[in-house]
Symmetry: C2
Subunit: 323 residues, 2 copies
């Protein structure tokens, strides 16, 4: 196929706070990218129209005609019926039972594919050399605790095709309530949102902690790095927050290893920037809590290669997988 | 193939306390069966020789020549490497890293297949009309908490082929120690062994409970039915034991539904004899703890059709699947 006929793909990664749009070539190379606030409180139709309009403008900005776009892929932090693309439940956006494809095509009549955002990211990351051919689990630490599992080259969608929800198995029977309505979910303990809550709670209890300085003495400015940054400077209260958080995250991963035995685990989301400071203790703690770890071994944990772009690229690649 | 050339299969279901041997035809019909104590403290070689010798005698008792046996299948409550049949770790038997196939063939030189016992039971149960073509999860409440998952007609063995261990994901972070060495495993709360422990603990705290009468005032005679029987007669302490146990079992099942979304759940093991008294509250409680239960629905829970014979029949059928 000549350069002139080369097809491009649009990927949209919808997050709880922001959505990111990218234009990608058939090999997953990102040519243009734009990020903007999701504005999650607004009506669904308004948000989706904004996505479609922004995507079309980005295609122009990338120097391409709309006709060169083979398809649009959308990754949503939601349970998706893969057969129909129907959006079943996105707890962090409070979206349920919605026809995202139909809504999008009101603004842009193009083939549209929808999948869970973590599944999209897993698809993109699983194309890395280190992951190729391996059954790979991607865990994304973000507003939620997302996970995508690639088994035998395909997105693992569960027995009834409604997906795999690693952020919502119950880690603490009588735990705090999750945004999904259930109690004690992984996401309520091991997401970045949970880490922010845990950081704020410890700050209230420890007025002398360095964490106050890290966030400019403004609890509203606490983010996923606050406790990590203060802990690295030796703050004891921050270290407690980080240590407890790592146990929650490690237990979540250990349970997934016991059940799914992936060959490689990739960590994505903002927290993956912590590198070995996060990954080394995460690996060791998870290894100590999997079934028969000494005999079966703990699969390696590596940071995501594509960073925050994995969601966009994987969403865009949905078109290449389906076509 | 004429009746004279018809092949038969031997299935051995190895449990923590007893093992059962059966001779089965190619359609899974049980022709002869024998059960005996495992004697789990004895050397591995002695136990395996006894299995092989007993199996050979049973074949004779069934009126068959040894040459009519196509293969022997053994189901073990163990992690198995399916490619080699190597036994990796059976926590309830304290067996690890053993060549069960080689050991068995010292006594009987016949094709031998080994799989996890719950996987064998799931294979047998999944051939029922109600389960046929469905992605089916079998949960076995026994000495351990076993589980087998049939996805797309095959035993789900995890990404690295070492299996799926639903009894050993961590349900309680700081929970009691499991026989596998880990803490807070499902098996330490939701197996029949755990129920027996929970029953004894409540009896110690409640000297007036009807549970004492149910076990002839002998705590050594407590079994999985003691609390259920007393609860049905209105004993409050027994009801507390049963209610708490059902929550543990339901949470375990709910987590598996959130991750695997099976289309049907089959309950096996001795406890399945409790029927609706167990299954109804188990279903309702699990439904309340799965992710997005109102939108995705809770798969039905039904009792095993084959009862305790599922393990034998499924083990025997391993030969028909492999051949």
């Amino acid at each position: 196929m000549g350069e002139r006929n080369k097809r491009y793909f649009v990927g949209i990664d919808v997050g709880g706070t922001h959505f990111a749009i990218g234009v990608v070539d058939g090999e997953g190379k990102l040519l243009a990218k734009h990020t903007m606030p999701t504005g999650a409180g607004r009506p669904f139709g308004v948000i989706v129209k904004e996505m479609a309009d922004t995507a079309k403008r980005l295609v122009v900005r990338a120097g391409l005609a709309e006709s060169r776009i083979g398809s649009v892929g959308i990754g949503v932090p939601s349970t998706i019926d893969s057969k129909t693309g129907h959006l079943i439940f996105a707890n962090n956006l409070d979206w349920r039972d919605l026809d995202l494809i139909g809504e999008f095509r009101k603004s842009w009549d193009v083939p549209v594919y929808v999948e869970n955002d973590a599944d999209c990211a897993a698809l993109a990351e699983s194309m890395d050399d280190a992951a190729k051919g391996k059954n790979t689990l991607l865990i994304t630490f973000g507003t939620g605790f997302g996970g995508g599992l690639i088994m035998n080259g395909k997105i693992f969608k569960g027995g009834d095709n409604s997906g795999f929800e690693p952020g919502h198995f119950v880690l603490f029977h009588k735990g705090i309530q999750c945004t999904c309505g259930n109690y004690g979910c992984v996401e309520a303990y091991a997401s970045v949102s949970a880490l922010v809550r845990q950081t704020k709670e410890k700050m209230q209890a420890c007025p002398d902690s360095l964490m106050w300085k890290e966030c400019g003495a403004d609890p509203e400015k606490v983010n996923g790095r606050t406790a990590f940054d203060a802990a690295k400077k030796g703050d004891a209260a921050a270290k407690e927050v980080v240590d407890a958080y790592i146990v929650y995250a490690a237990l979540s991963i250990a349970n997934l290893v016991t059940l799914f035995r992936p060959e490689l685990i990739i960590i994505g989301g903002g927290l993956s920037a912590e590198g070995d400071y996060l990954i080394k203790p995460l690996y060791e703690t998870a290894k100590s809590r999997i079934y028969a770890g000494e005999l079966l071994g703990m699969p390696p944990i590596v940071p995501a290669r594509l960073g925050n772009d994995a969601g966009i690229i994987g969403a865009a690649l949905l078109g290449t997988v389906h076509i």
